[in-house]
Assembly symmetry: C2
Homo-oligomer: 203 residues x 2
């Protein structure tokens, strides 16, 4: 891979700073003024990299989506098809929320989805695409588990994916809002129950 140019490096630093600020103020709360001040550069310097706040918002989402894929999806898809891969997706998602949480953060993508829940436009559209892609990844991983005969043929992969998304969001609720020390244990129990009733009977 070619070394990043100075311009690319600066751009990446801006996006990283914007991402960290969005954890507190959201994407709409971002301002070029506060961003410039945090990075100790001029506002016009920022405008050289991003034409508008919307451009920057879209880049922040892209960066988050890239990190999500690198942290969760690629390593999980390196695991054996079927249940092992689904288990890796589950464990890595919990770790993702936990990593962010270690700095007092949850899954920023989830937070942004709710921030833009009632908006229209390119930013909302990009968030929906990212979320749909995650949903389709889970659906596909479940369909493969059926092909591998780990899961029963009558299972509906989309229903499975929705229920798994439900477990992921309640985990965030438990860990983030209630600071429940047993959040992980509860999510793990719910996942085990979901897998158990999805399994093909050994006959």
């Amino acid at each position: 891979m070619a070394a990043a140019t100075k311009g690319e490096e600066t751009r990446a630093q801006i996006i990283d700073q914007a991402l960290r600020m969005a954890q507190t103020v959201g994407l709409e709360g971002l301002t070029f003024g506060e961003l410039a001040s945090a990075l100790d550069v001029s506002k016009s310097g920022l405008f050289a990299h991003f034409e508008s706040k919307e451009d920057l918002q879209l880049e922040v989402i892209q960066e988050l989506a890239d990190r999500f894929i690198a942290s969760i999806i690629l390593p999980a898809f390196a695991k054996a098809r079927g249940e092992p891969r689904l288990r890796a997706l589950f464990e890595r998602y919990l770790a993702w929320v936990g990593n962010h949480a270690s700095g007092g953060r949850g899954c920023l993508l989830t937070q942004l989805q709710y921030e833009f829940q009632n908006q229209r436009g390119r930013v909302k559209d990009k968030l929906v695409v990212a979320e749909r892609s995650w949903f389709e990844t889970l659906t596909k991983a479940c369909a493969i588990a059926i092909q591998e005969k780990h899961f029963k043929a009558t299972l509906d992969p989309e229903q499975f994916a929705y229920e798994l998304l439900g477990i992921f969001t309640f985990y965030q609720h438990a860990a983030r809002f209630f600071e429940d020390p047993r959040a992980e244990q509860r999510a793990t129990a719910a996942f085990a129950a979901l897998v158990e009733r999805s399994r093909a009977s050994r006959s």
Copy 2:
């Protein structure tokens, strides 16, 4: 009940308008200027009712919590103890999201929880109290279903409540982000599966 005074009426109108605006801009995005302009009153008129934006934010959450209790919890607790009451809580929560959704809205309380996920202070605390109270209501309703022997004695009511919260949030995902026409059908299937494996075996 005594008739509301003019001051109380105005105050309620301000809160209602703030609540509607928060659906798009969040509670942090609210400004007294835009609120005054939408209500066609002066900013100083607003300050006569609310000392600070934080005061107003706290009142909006209180109003939402009151509506939540009146729309979901009180009618459900008028139903027979056990499974019928849990079913009513489930159905009324879906209707609540749907009612809001009919104007292009989801559950505003959920949206606000994520907006304040990484904040500290009185507003975040009030949101956590509201969410915890909902969680405790679901836990209690499950514990009663165990007492009534509708559900098995070994069931963990908190685990049940978490899984139910998961179904509620994936319903919002399905209905709001994906505009999935089968969102209700999927949530209903997940709830049926949760109830089925919670039931006491008829022996």
